[in-house]
């Protein structure tokens, strides 16, 4: 029984793009190998995304599991059923359960936007991530490379001593795709397709190297 690779998507702040990143990684990995997306956030956005997803598209097994017992069971089953990738979409708060799950991760991804409000609250998230002592990195979400903030964010994030693993742009393909049960790269947006492919490649590399 091979242990699946567990990737936790976490930020203490809401609206940073946890579900967006989780869904895109899960869809990307599901197209290559058995993948489960565990929706640990009680808001259930990832599970709702799956409910709206067209049945003919390749999908990750999407499991709503907000309780500790349910997550433990799902992780055990993932291992028993040779699921290769488990993506956890964590809730936007800190709790004993979140701290436990971060400790179970092979890689923690912290989505953040390049805005002042996101950066102000980032320290609490990073303190929890560092406490877990697991490999981790940032994913820039809704990233707009032409703005001043784009140039300012790199040195700020460098201060937290975590690498920037990838980015998803501020694109309609993502904001309109998710409510339709689609991923950005399934919306016919070439740039989104490139971004998601690059994110997957970088995350796979980080899993090996970090």
């Amino acid at each position: 029984m091979a242990k699946p690779s567990v990737i936790c998507i976490f930020s203490n702040k809401g609206g940073t793009g946890k579900t967006t990143v989780a869904v895109h990684l899960a869809v990307g990995y599901a197209q290559r190998s058995p993948t489960a997306l565990l929706d640990v956030d009680p808001q259930g956005t990832a599970a709702e995304w799956l409910r709206r997803r067209p049945a003919d598209l390749k999908s990750p097994l999407t499991v709503p599991c907000t309780g500790r017992n349910a997550v433990t069971r799902a992780l055990e089953l993932a291992r028993a059923e040779s699921i290769e990738n488990v993506i956890l979409d964590l809730p936007p708060h800190s709790s004993a359960q979140v701290a436990w799950l971060l400790g179970e991760a092979d890689l923690i991804l912290v989505p953040t936007r390049a805005t002042a409000t996101d950066l102000v609250t980032l320290k609490q998230t990073i303190d929890l991530v560092h406490a877990a002592k697991r490999p981790a990195g940032f994913v820039l979400n809704a990233f707009r490379p032409h703005l001043v903030e784009a140039r300012e964010i790199a040195p700020i994030l460098a201060g937290y001593k975590l690498p920037i693993i990838g980015s998803l742009g501020d694109r309609i393909a993502y904001s309109r795709g998710l409510p339709a049960g689609l991923a950005g790269h399934e919306m016919g947006d070439e740039v989104a397709t490139e971004e998601v492919a690059k994110l997957l490649k970088n995350v796979s590399k980080a899993r090996k190297e970090l």
Binding site: P42, L50, L61, V63, T66, N69, L77
Partner: protein
């Protein structure tokens, strides 16, 4: 008894859809309870040695029951006390 698979738990399965309807209908009973020692004035912290594998099993038991190793130990000690005719600890 039918073995439950991850697919049974998933949204993309009838069982999972039933679970999700239950979730929408009311509060999720499976949300974990975090037990905290709010009043520890009459309690002491005790360290002792035990078998490594048994401790791992104990931690797993605590996870399965949504409780803490501390709580399980108190329960075990209470059972021992009951066998010896002593009353329960205050916990």
């Amino acid at each position: 008894m039918k073995q439950v698979s991850l697919a049974d738990m998933a949204v993309n399965a009838p069982v999972a859809q039933k679970l999700s309807r239950q979730r929408r209908a009311g509060p999720d009973e499976s949300v974990s309870k975090v037990t905290r020692d709010k009043d520890n004035t009459n309690r002491v912290q005790v360290a002792f040695r035990m078998d490594k594998d048994a401790y791992r099993e104990l931690k797993r038991m605590a996870l399965d029951e949504d409780t803490t190793v501390n709580e399980l130990m108190v329960r075990a000690i209470d059972e021992l006390r009951a066998r010896k005719g002593l009353k329960k600890t205050s916990g």
